[in-house]
Symmetry: C2
Subunit: 526 residues, 2 copies
């Protein structure tokens, strides 16, 4: 069964569908002008990609595999498959830089056609970039093309089927091209949900969630995406991989966990079997105020270690709370402190029981309940931040995010060090905001958002800040990325995370599964 509500293409220079593009809200203009100065930074219009490198013989062989209509070489399509949606990606796109455009976009349908495209690419030494939703923010769609005859974007847009639902085992098998809303619409037909809502939800794909170890805003309740996966199939240049005999087993290393997070460098994930849950009858989001980020974080830790997490739990630091644009009326308000959002999903009984238990703990720890309004405001605006980024880029404000995770005992140091590194690099007048949005019994994520007035070279400006933050992260022993994947941006720090031997293991697996090295060259593996 295929989704009846296809997700629209994103704007080539902005986040989201073209018709959804927004301008800076009036309520924020004065504040932004005061903080950074309003500048006019329009995007270049009418840029075209460089001429395609693949000749007609090569393209003809490709067309024979997937059909003429599924090998696209027009400029507009190639522009739409150029890079992802990090701020550097957007800055390049806005500047009219399409140098990373693929030579062609190929749209195979099904595992066998994907395998055939990989065989064609291996034979002719063509680099292949698997493409799901195009929402990557770590440079994972800008593969290296030197040494290759060309580069194609392997677009999974035709693979959007719900292949199976097992309502006894509560699993669903999904094709990788399904975007978040398409998958949820199909699952809703069976009364079930994945419950996976990263900020990229509206455009990101099932295959992308798997290939990048995505984590959603409801991770406290539904788990990370990698924790939902019980099976997967992948096409690799070496052959097919089909994994998932059981929820868990002891039949050697868990190879599912080797494909999850492999970012298209080991193979193309052609289906994913995931644990699903009954669609919630009740959802309820609330706000809490804490006197400090530390006090709110400690409360999160208490809940996680007591096995009492809500479905959604997130905590903004003092700065993010003050700048909360999702609720402009609260800016500079008398409240102060740190805003926490708690969300509950499930049956009415589950929601009530969990809410009562959590409320008792949070009240006991000194939290102040703020009722449903802040929760509803958050839920309403939960996918909106990337649109605001575009509106700020229009006005010469550099906005970007980065995220990390550590164990609870290291949280304060990590927060202090990364904040100091970003502030020091971006200079006076920059804003550094942070929130915790994914918690575990043993630790949590930290998600930073920065804003600064753009200098002459905003990409270099960000790269310097990112490098300073990444250095601080690895020095603190934390992870270089909790849920955004490695791509190219995190690669310089990967060996600090998994060691030289860990990198060698990745290279060995890559050499076995992709001996010619056509899959996402330069992505993930240093």
């Amino acid at each position: 069964m295929t989704s009846q509500t296809p997700v629209a293409e994103m704007h080539p220079q902005r986040w989201g569908a073209p018709e959804s593009a927004t301008v800076l809200p009036d309520s924020a203009r004065a504040l932004v002008d005061l903080a950074f100065g309003l500048q006019d930074h329009p995007a270049v219009v009418g840029a075209t990609p460089p001429p395609a490198a693949l000749d007609d013989d090569l393209l003809g062989a490709l067309r024979a595999l997937v059909g003429d209509e599924n090998v696209l070489v027009d400029d507009a399509t190639r522009a739409l498959r150029t890079r992802g949606k990090s701020t550097p990606d957007l800055l390049r796109a806005r500047a009219g830089d399409l140098t990373d455009a693929p030579d062609a976009v190929v749209r195979p349908d099904g595992h066998d056609e994907v395998a055939a495209v990989l065989a064609w690419a291996g034979e002719h030494r063509v680099a292949v970039v698997p493409f799901g939703g195009g929402t990557c923010v770590t440079g994972g769609l800008a593969a290296r093309r030197d040494g290759f005859a060309g580069l194609v974007s392997l677009d999974l847009v035709r693979m959007k089927r719900l292949l199976a639902v097992d309502e006894v085992s509560m699993t669903a098998t999904l094709e990788p091209g399904l975007r978040g809303p398409e998958a949820e619409a199909l699952l809703a037909g069976h009364g079930v949900t994945l419950g996976h809502y990263p900020q990229s939800f509206e455009h990101a794909s099932i295959g992308g969630f798997a290939a990048t170890r995505s984590s959603g805003q409801s991770s406290a309740g539904y788990g990370r995406f990698d924790a939902m996966v019980v099976g997967l199939e992948a096409a690799t240049p070496t052959g097919p991989l089909s994994l998932g005999s059981s929820p868990a087993n002891a039949a050697g290393p868990d190879l599912r966990q080797l494909l999850l997070g492999s970012e298209g460098a080991f193979g193309v994930i052609t289906s994913v079997t995931v644990r699903v849950c009954k669609a919630p009858a009740e959802t309820s989001y609330e706000g809490w105020r804490w006197p400090s980020f530390a006090a709110g974080s400690d409360a999160m830790r208490t809940l996680a270690q007591a096995g009492l997490l809500p479905t959604v739990i997130r905590l903004s630091d003092e700065s993010e709370t003050a700048i909360n644009l999702a609720d402009p009326s609260s800016i500079g308000g008398a409240g102060g402190g740190c805003l926490m959002i708690t969300g509950y999903e499930g049956t009415i009984e589950q929601v009530e029981a969990r809410r009562a238990a959590v409320t008792a703990v949070l009240t006991d720890l000194g939290g102040t309940p703020l009722g449903n309004e802040p929760g509803q405001a958050w839920a309403h605006g939960r996918f909106g931040a990337p649109y605001l980024r575009d509106a700020l880029l229009d006005h010469g404000v550099l906005v970007e995010t980065l995220e990390t995770a550590t164990f609870w005992s290291g949280r304060q140091r990590l927060y202090d060090d990364v904040r100091a590194a970003l502030t020091s690099s971006l200079g006076e007048g920059s804003l550094v905001l942070c929130h915790v949005s994914h918690v575990y019994e043993t630790g949590c994520s930290l998600y930073f958002t920065v804003a600064a007035r753009q200098g002459d070279d905003p990409i270099a400006q960000w790269q310097a800040a990112k490098a300073a933050a990444s250095d601080a992260i690895v020095a603190a022993g934390a992870t270089i990325t909790h849920h955004h994947a490695v791509g190219t941006d995190h690669q310089p720090w990967l060996d600090r995370e998994i060691g030289e031997v860990g990198v060698r293991v990745l290279r060995a697996v890559k050499a076995e599964l992709d001996p010619v090295g056509i899959l996402n060259p330069g992505i993930l593996i240093p």
Copy 2:
């Protein structure tokens, strides 16, 4: 800090410490005689291993690395490090067959000494078998020695420290040689517990739990061992691996999950950092009766999918319930049906709340509460079955177990098919019992125990039954092992589980981490 309560060596021909050896209980003699005929099968006494193959020069170099007293070549020590504790292993040991004895037992202390021993072994082409508790039941300690200058058992007995406890993050870092009770005694000093209680608990080691993806009887509450691990260090011939920046991350594939379950074939795990929980203030075990295995299984599924699992939940099928030797008074009793054990651990409030919620669901589904007595009987006898096996082997009764797991929708077929395969292979008069002891939202394990009168070649008798069961398991698409690992016994079916490409990935990782192939040759990887 090191444990003050060292676990004793196991008997070379039986499970458990020599002084714990038992005879067949009087209450069972008549039943066993009726079912299988009481025979007298004494073990051979005084067998010695073949002469050691390593010469003095090689041993001298090894002694220089770890100290003279830590290179042992006496027959008794070598005999104690021969194979594991599967029924075929015991049958061989009882027959006086010590042909798999190592040439020496080497006891390094710490990561660097382990690495030095691996370097020595690589240089001289000596096979190395990492040894933790020696409880393996899948042939994982009988490495291949052809093509090697010799074979040493790398005994982790000196690595028994609790290296760190982080009471904020609720993690502990343990050395691999700690046996279950030793680890728990050290953790109890900090008021925390791992909560990992496989049947082998009294003798198995932390390193073994990690290397084999062990799952304990309290897995519903505390999780599988692999789910507890947040970090690990390993010595490999290629170099050190140190993983675990964070509870979870997106920094590429999760390489922790590649070392977990690697059965000593990729490296020697030299420390493990695990999530711990507060030691429970309250524990409570209860019994329930179900009209059928299917009804009880469905109730387990309902609990798992509602997020309402007890800490322990297990369900015996009709046969296992009838033959429940842990509670002989119930045999042939009027109850019939299937016995379920539910256990609750935590604070008094947690135990009461979870018990109330579970009781409501189970009552609603048609379960009959049996009170605490069956629960206490189970808890009292939970580690006892392997002793009973020895007592039955003394009387010529072949007893062995195997286990698998599948998704809920496949449970009935898997149960029927494996049961039929075992019954058919072992013939009339054999007993096949089954229980579910590990449940997930999407599926469960099935654990089979068989008993039959020993034929002339009991090892071949079991191997035929095991092969029939394994064929049925892979035909049903289930896992060849839920928590006993691959070893050598499951190897013929591994390619059916992970595919030819999956096996190639394991080989590639092995070649990278252990290029000479000294680590556990012939184990895990076909």
